[in-house]
């Protein structure tokens, strides 16, 4: 066999199920208290700092990290359960999610000790929001074309240039960004980029919001003008960010957030068709559920690989590719299947409002976090084609 793409049927252990109950109970309380409406994905108040703190207080942020940094030393599978329950409930996770999934693990790996001690416990308490500064106006898929410069100066670096599409930069306390510290070399065009910890809301950083077709403001342009970053904020190897960036990807690409972003329309479809669906609706729902179930089994399997200390880059890319294509098609399939739903269905309005938003959301799903084309390139490399 060329590729041993095996997704072992990992089962979530019993303690995950206990945890799941706790998360559901917590979310039910939050919903009852009016923190968020699970039927309203397009709410305006997606930034919920108090909710973040309560999630932190539960011990559900930085769950897998060492206790000395505020973590719980729990398994990736337990973290998985928390993530999926939050997603399915439409909980407002914007403020903490990036830090928990990605930025924290980067700091754990590459930050100096005093910075870890300073920031990681605050992430675990749900107090800090992170942004990821990779893309630039002329560097999206081609990350290594990034131009924003970090010029060495006394005790640190001066940053000049622009990052773009930076999710949550307008509320973020920190950004982990890559900047150019040297030109690429002839032998290695990936050389010359360095990862930095950026403290936001400082002189020399301007954040300009960019509206999205959904009507929301989620990402931004971030302009750096002689912004100073101290030496101890360099993360990992100078000029070697390309090696670090790839191992981050398995975390970013395989989680339940990569197929559950439009999930709510499926629930509302089931509600709208009622307990005795016609054949057409039943078949449509059955297929969607089978596809969802299969992806989730694959995604859980990748979580199991992460738990076992593997770096399943190809497997994670497969899950993201299939998952995002699915969540992108889902609202359209649901629209199709809902066409003959009785006018009197009790949740008809909710379904229509949700579909409107999900259909507007759909185009971005196969772009954020690496486009379909880029992912398929990674899979092709894994198959030995390049």
């Amino acid at each position: 066999m060329t590729a041993a793409l095996r997704f072992d049927p990992i089962r979530l252990p019993e303690k995950c199920e206990q945890l799941r109950k706790e998360v559901r109970a917590f979310l039910a309380e939050e919903i009852a208290a009016g923190t968020f409406d699970p039927h309203k994905p397009n709410r305006e108040d997606t930034d919920a700092p108090e909710f973040s703190r309560r999630v932190g207080a539960k011990g559900w942020l930085g769950m897998t990290w060492p206790k000395k940094y505020g973590g719980q030393e729990r398994s990736f599978l337990e973290r998985y359960v928390v993530t999926e329950e939050m997603r399915v409930a439409n909980a407002p996770t914007r403020r903490f999610f990036v830090a928990d999934r990605q930025s924290g693990p980067v700091l754990l790996k590459y930050a100096p000790e005093h910075i870890k001690m300073e920031i990681l416990p605050r992430i675990c308490r749900g107090e800090v929001c992170f942004a990821i500064g990779m893309s630039e106006p002329n560097s999206g898929s081609d990350l290594f074309a990034a131009k924003t410069r970090a010029t060495k100066t006394d005790g640190g670096y001066l940053i000049n240039g622009t990052k773009i599409w930076t999710s949550s930069a307008h509320i973020a306390d920190y950004m982990i960004a890559i900047f150019r510290t040297s030109p690429p070399t002839k032998e290695n065009r990936r050389h010359g980029l360095t990862q930095f910890l950026v403290k936001m809301k400082q002189p020399g950083i301007k954040v300009n919001p960019i509206g999205q077709i959904t009507g929301q403001y989620e990402f931004n342009e971030v302009v750096f003008t002689d912004h100073f970053i101290p030496d101890d904020h360099v993360l990992g190897e100078v000029d070697g960010a390309w090696k670090q960036a790839t191992s981050e990807l398995a975390y970013e690409r395989s989680g339940p957030e990569r197929f559950l972003e439009t999930y709510y329309v499926l629930t509302e479809l089931v509600r709208a068709v009622g307990p005795n669906p016609d054949t057409r609706s039943a078949e449509g729902i059955g297929r969607l559920v089978a596809q969802l179930h299969t992806m989730r089994r694959m995604s859980v399997s990748v979580a199991g690989m992460l738990e076992a200390g593997k770096e399943p880059v190809v497997e994670a890319s497969i899950v993201k590719d299939i998952g995002t294509v699915w969540e992108q098609q889902l609202p359209h399939r649901v629209r199709d299947l809902a066409a003959f739903v009785e006018e009197t269905a009790t949740n008809r309005e909710t379904l229509e409002r949700q579909l409107d938003f999900a259909i507007k959301t759909a185009p971005k799903l196969t772009i954020q976090g690496g486009t379909t084309e880029v992912l398929r390139g990674i899979i092709a490399r894994g198959l030995g084609l390049r």
Partner: protein
């Protein structure tokens, strides 16, 4: 070939490699390969894997048997191995000993019914029965006045109309007209036609997943050999992306099928959660057979469309296996009804229960 530490699978793979090489089989138009392969498989007891020792089988676990079927799919073997295993399993449910030789199960479609009359005879029609023509015995699930029964039937007592499926394998119509079974016993609680169909469906899912693994394998290999426009076609991005999608379909099929196999092998009862696994596997694997098979053919160009090339052994069988024990459309309707019946708020708990 993926290394296996499973002795049942290892034994089977060795026999397949020696006696079921797809190219050799494809060249042998008269079918002379069939008898030695069946004999070798029988000598080591693989067709009766799921039959306990005391009932004449080799008593392998459900899990090992499923893994064996996945390996059989990787070779697209066209002997009634899965069918005999399923028949043996069904008979064993009612503690009926398995005879030697090829078997298959009736019915093979959720819509067909075999009925048990008051005089103990069986009547009814079963369509799309795989390898009925080759079988010496049938394991039959029948519905009587007192519930479900399982029977061993001598195949010569039935009327068999030959048919071929899309993959050129026998898929026959079997009619029983007041046939007296060799043995007849009541089915244990929980074993019904749905259970049998899902068990058969998961067997087919593992075979389809195996065929897709091989299709990915030979497609990648071919793309690294074939030169066009002075390059290996594997260097074209469009071809790479097609193969990446094939890898995704193959991985999804394997994940769905092995997860369902694991669920059944560890199930105490056949509840909604196991139903979700088994039905999903058949639905998703059938979809993967369609999408993945199309890509494998696209990558192979015209050569893959010839009868001389081995690709069709995998692609057409994978397509044919979609139809056995309930098509994906059938299971999608049933799964959709189950989900709708449980209600919207029970959907996520069902999915997340696994």
């Amino acid at each position: 070939m993926a290394e296996s530490d499973n002795i049942v699978v290892e034994t089977a793979e060795k026999i397949f490699a020696d006696l079921a090489d797809p190219q050799t089989i494809n060249n042998d138009k008269k079918g002379a390969w069939q008898a030695p392969l069946w004999q070798a498989l029988s000598e080591v007891g693989l067709p009766l894997s799921w039959v306990p020792d005391e009932l004449g089988g080799s008593g392998a676990s459900l899990a090992d048997g499923f893994a064996l079927l996945n390996a059989a799919g990787r070779f697209a073997v066209a002997v009634p191995l899965a069918e005999t295993m399923l028949a043996g399993w069904l008979l064993a449910q009612a503690k009926i000993a398995s005879p030697e030789g090829e078997m298959t199960v009736l019915p093979a479609s959720p819509k067909d019914r075999i009925s048990l009359d008051a005089d103990g005879s069986l009547s009814g029609r079963a369509r799309g029965v795989p390898f009925a023509k080759a079988a010496k015995h049938f394991a039959v699930l029948a519905h009587g006045k007192d519930g479900v029964a399982i029977a061993l039937v001598d195949a010569s007592k039935a009327r068999i109309e030959s048919g071929l499926n899309v993959g050129y394998d026998h898929s026959d119509t079997v009619t029983l007209d007041k046939v007296q079974p060799v043995t007849l016993k009541p089915a244990p609680k929980g074993v019904d036609q749905t259970h049998l169909m899902l068990m058969g469906g998961v067997a087919r899912s593992l075979q389809i997943a195996g065929a897709l693994e091989s299709m990915l394998d030979i497609s990648v290999r071919y793309s690294n050999e074939r030169v066009a426009f002075e390059k290996k076609i594997s260097k074209f991005q469009a071809v790479q992306h097609n193969l990446a999608r094939l890898a995704g379909e193959s991985a999804a099929a394997l994940a769905a099928a092995t997860s369902a196999a694991d669920a059944i092998a560890n199930a105490k009862v056949f509840d909604d959660e196991v139903y979700l696994e088994a039905a999903s596997a058949k639905i998703r694997c059938a979809e993967a057979a369609e999408k993945g098979g199309a890509i494998a053919h696209q990558v192979h160009g015209a050569i893959g469309f010839t009868i001389e090339h081995i690709l069709h052994r995998y692609s057409l069988r994978a397509l044919a296996w979609r139809d056995d024990f309930g098509s994906e459309s059938h299971w999608a309707v049933e799964l959709g009804k189950l989900v709708a019946n449980r209600g919207a708020d029970e959907l996520w708990p069902l999915v997340a229960s696994r």
